[in-house]
Subunit: 628 residues, 2 copies
């Protein structure tokens, strides 16, 4: 039943993925976590998504012939939105030819150094002190670095004189703060000495960016000098053992004496282990990581920080802090360089957290030309709207269905997950990692619901036809998969023989109700924000979709089930992948990004959807899947 997948490898990041033949390159890239900017929405009409297919390039399409010269085509240049994968492929994502305004979103592909990293390194050789030149060691270093006042923390000061004298007044300064005067102009700048290392270690400077989702944790190791992604790690948030949504964890923290400590320790140790794995993967040491940046929803961030989330569990759901938190990384119990700093994203409200701010930062929603919508589909759905320069944001109660939770065979978008389902003549599925399927993830779920609606097997009200009802109408392969499973009408996606460990993968009527609820919540949220902004769906010029699926949702299917308004043209919808991680990455690499995040968080109006008089009606309406 599973089609043979082929390997696609991306340079310079080295990211890999397996996809079905026929998959478009832009989609394969998204699966590999490599984001390619597709300004025109993948219609082949802007020519911006140029890449070099080093191995495995197929025949150029008409659109590619239009945008690329014959010489370029021969050298392997293609448009990522046009080229389909047919065989094992190797792709180079070039530095040049990208639209600058979108560069922030795609800072891992191509890798891009920031102008003002929070930490930078400089190898220096100082003139040794003499009787005629007896300035203090830290002042000598400050002069050599050409920075303004250099703050030397106590722990670093304790080792500085010894290190300088052991190594002949040579070594590499690790500096936190604004970059050197040459690039910064004449205004006075301050800097903090993180360390002074023996020898020239300029090229060994790393940061870690984390997206801490309710369900999934993702971390990546970044090169502070070049912006290159050196390693990626993800895992299930171990806090899920205390409940799969934020409220159950808030309750645990509130009702159990040691609850907060347990939750904090669970995520702290997970992140610390992930850092260890990132170091192994990239072959570097924890001490070479000088900065960690963290984005998550308000509850996740408070739990990591050991801040009691109780007020987030009761009306009016008030966060403890609003601004970004900067502290020593040791205050969070993470083990990287002991003088490293930690940065935790600012939040907008109780359920519109640092992940949304990171998404606003990464998508550059606020810079859009005209009304624009950002929908972040994680454990809850957060929505932000830009209109007339005003940003509003709200959270929906979508629940964790899109991350595979509360779905009987649900799982996150990792190896073994059915992440794509197509019903043409037969039911075709794609499993991440090309292994026997173990469950279904969010994007697969959306595909299934759309296909079932399309083939009339699911009613707009969300009722799955019984095996008897579908017998004649639906394609035979689909019809025979509609079965009774534990008393419920269900779709059999994989039999016991096909599934991993001899277990079938089944989608039940109740699962579809969960999806219906989740979709309805997002749809109602969008409707209310549009209403408040005095907008119709057709007024929206850009819809930017974020989500940690690890997969592309297909636009047509997202619209078919009503997750996105059907009136919006395809080309206006862009999938941005894990925007929370992308925002954390920007904050890990750039101080300007941090300032922007702070501004975004404070200028965004927080809207309480349920306080809207139309909320109940709109939510009820949105529960009905759109008619074909």
């Amino acid at each position: 039943m599973r089609d043979r997948e082929v390997l696609v490898r991306f340079r310079p990041s080295g990211a890999e993925t397996y996809v079905l033949p026929g998959t478009r390159l832009v989609e394969a890239a998204a699966e590999a976590g490599v984001l390619i900017d597709v300004p025109c929405g993948g219609e082949g009409i802007c020519g911006n998504c140029r890449v070099i297919v080093v191995a495995g390039a197929g025949e150029p399409t008409a659109a590619e012939r239009e945008w690329l010269s014959e010489e370029e085509l021969q050298r392997g240049w293609r448009l990522a939105c046009q080229t389909a994968i047919t065989e094992p492929t190797e792709v180079e994502i070039p530095h040049a030819g990208r639209a600058e305004p979108q560069i922030l979103v795609h800072s891992n592909a191509p890798a891009r150094a920031s102008d003002d990293p929070p930490v930078w390194k400089r190898y220096v050789e100082l003139p040794p002190p003499t009787r005629g030149d007896d300035a203090p060691d830290a002042i000598r270093l400050e002069r050599a670095l050409g920075v303004g006042p250099l703050e030397v923390p106590l722990a670093v000061l304790r080792g500085l004189s010894g290190r300088l004298r052991e190594d002949g007044f040579r070594g590499t300064a690790v500096v936190a703060g604004t970059a050197d005067q040459a690039t910064r102009g004449t205004r006075p700048i301050t800097a903090r000495l993180v360390d002074f290392e023996a020898g020239n270690t300029e090229t060994d400077a790393f940061a870690v960016a984390f997206d801490i989702g309710t369900t999934t944790l993702v971390g990546e190791l970044l090169d502070l000098g070049t912006g290159t992604q050196w390693a990626v790690q993800s895992r299930v948030n171990p806090q899920t053992r205390f409940g799969d949504d934020v409220l159950s964890r808030i309750l645990h923290a509130r009702q159990v004496g040691t609850g907060l400590t347990e939750l904090q320790e669970a995520i702290r140790s997970a992140l610390d282990e992930m850092i260890g794995q990132l170091c192994l993967q990239a072959g570097t040491a924890r001490e070479r990581i000088y900065e960690v940046s963290i984005a998550g929803n308000t509850t996740m961030q408070q739990l990591l920080c050991g801040v009691d989330p109780s007020p987030l569990g009761e009306v009016p759901f008030v966060p403890a802090g609003g601004r970004s938190l900067t502290c020593r990384v040791t205050d969070l119990g993470l083990h990287i360089h002991p003088e490293a700093g930690a940065y935790v994203m600012p939040v907008i409200g109780g359920f519109v957290g640092g992940d949304t701010v990171a998404g606003l930062l990464a998508t550059e929603l606020a810079e859009s030309d005209g009304p624009a919508l950002f929908v972040d589909i994680g454990t809850n759905g957060e929505i932000a709207l830009l209109t007339d320069g005003q940003l509003t944001a709200a959270s929906t109660a979508a629940g964790p269905a899109f991350e595979g939770a509360r779905i009987s065979c649900g799982m996150r978008g990792s190896t073994g997950a059915i992440e794509k389902v197509v019903v043409d003549g037969r039911v075709r599925i794609n499993v991440i990692g090309d292994v026997p399927p173990a469950g279904i993830c969010g994007s697969g779920l959306i595909d299934v619901a759309a296909e079932l609606l399309r083939h009339g097997v699911l009613t707009p009200e969300g009722r799955l036809h019984t095996p008897d009802q579908v017998a004649g109408d639906a394609p035979a392969d689909l019809a025979q998969r509609i079965v009774m499973h534990e008393g419920q009408v269900s779709l059999l996606l994989a039999t016991e023989d096909e599934g991993r460990d001899g277990r079938p993968v089944v989608l039940t009527q109740r699962d579809l109700r969960e999806l219906q609820l989740a979709t309805g919540a997002v749809r109602a949220g969008i409707a209310i924000l549009l209403k408040r902004g005095g907008l119709k769906p057709t007024d929206i010029r850009h819809v930017l979709i974020g989500g940690g699926f690890g997969n592309f949702i297909r636009r047509s299917n997202a619209q078919r089930i009503g997750l996105l308004p059907t009136e919006i043209e395809h080309r206006r919808i862009r999938f941005m992948g894990n925007t929370s991680l992308a925002g954390a990455r920007l904050a890990a690499l750039s101080q300007t990004a941090r300032r922007m995040a702070e501004q975004l968080a404070r200028r965004t109006e927080h809207v309480d959807l349920s306080a809207d008089p139309d909320f109940a009606r709109m939510f009820a309406e949105s529960m009905i899947f759109p008619e074909a």
Copy 2:
């Protein structure tokens, strides 16, 4: 032999001292640690040192009648430089009538709030959150305080939401950073939340300022709101058990494996105990102290910070850091409020440290109208010269004689110390605290040498006449005190019957040689700085003397022994008391003072006296006491 002393009490500080009848009020104030500005040098010709003698006012002098109206005189107004103490006296130091440029020096008398304290408090009542007003707690607080971005450290954030909800969204914010917008104008300001306390604790906000001398530690508890000094503590630096000068301690740190740790722990625990005593004395808690400010010489500061001082023990004597150090107070192992900050003064060079910078700050030397000299007489003598807007500074190898060390019966200026000696018909001594004498301190030493020179008992070369030689010439009371003591010609200041615990107080020939060396070192240093500045002693408009004696040196005696150039007019010499402590106090109370300290440290040129080609000759010449 001891004359009956009388008590003088000062308001508002409550400081007290016992002085001999006939002592001028300005001198009594200095003994009590209360500094009164005497711009004219105490000649009664400027009328600036006006005080109110509440009880014990004597007849006004002619100068007082000239400067004060009959009504003022009747209300007790007197000139501090004119009025002599004749009976127990109570003195009010008024707020008004002071020369503004000198206000910094005398910030403890009168107490004076700073415009920009490093920490301030504000009682606030916040509107409790509602569904329509669900901003994060920290943002609500920020708005109520009217500050710019309010940084909330992790430890404070952890308790904030709970504290707000327990106390009905009321309480007192403790804020580090610039003061409120009302006084600061419109520029964006940042602030850090140190704590949020239950109830209104606005009036309970303290800082501690420390002068950490090689020999003596002095600490004072200051009211951050009003600048009032609430308590003072002093003690011998317990590091003296590792050697009485800085070099022996540097050697100990260098040669003994645990040396640095021992030295650091010795001073840390002493300061921490002093904080406890300050709290007891003032009836407050350690948690109400939000800031500590420290001034000391470069070695003392490095030892307190746990920074290896080895490079300070060898040519070219390079300090580890130059700029001020700000850190968490917990990093120094001191126990006040756990989120409090510590500030350690910037330094100029290896032997021109934070105490000198503090002195420059407190004396406002750099603001002087014309060439000015600052001489800080502590364990070493540091000298700074202002000429043509240029500051230069140097340290001399005066040694600890002025602090009573290396003197057989030497002691610091505390209870039991002979701090003044006058030889008229007989030898009159004054003992601090009106108790049997236990030893002699720096000012007493200078008095003795001057009187011995004056009566021809000590030769300009520093040789003490033998009992036989003095028999006929000197006053009988003096002559009979010249004795042989343990094989040396000596001056018997107190017999076994008179001294504390039945021990005599004796000054030996060797002691006088120590003083001669110390005096010569300072004198040579002054001569070299003047030479480099192209100045003669008569060009100097102001000589500002600092020192932690706890006593006044009498100008005539300081000049008689050549500690200060004899050519300088009396009225140009001003004694400023413990300028290191005064500077630490300013830094504890004012951020502007900290910025000024930073600038002073960096703009002052460090001069290595011994590198001057004339050094050896000038030092040798300075060893000879001036002829009468």
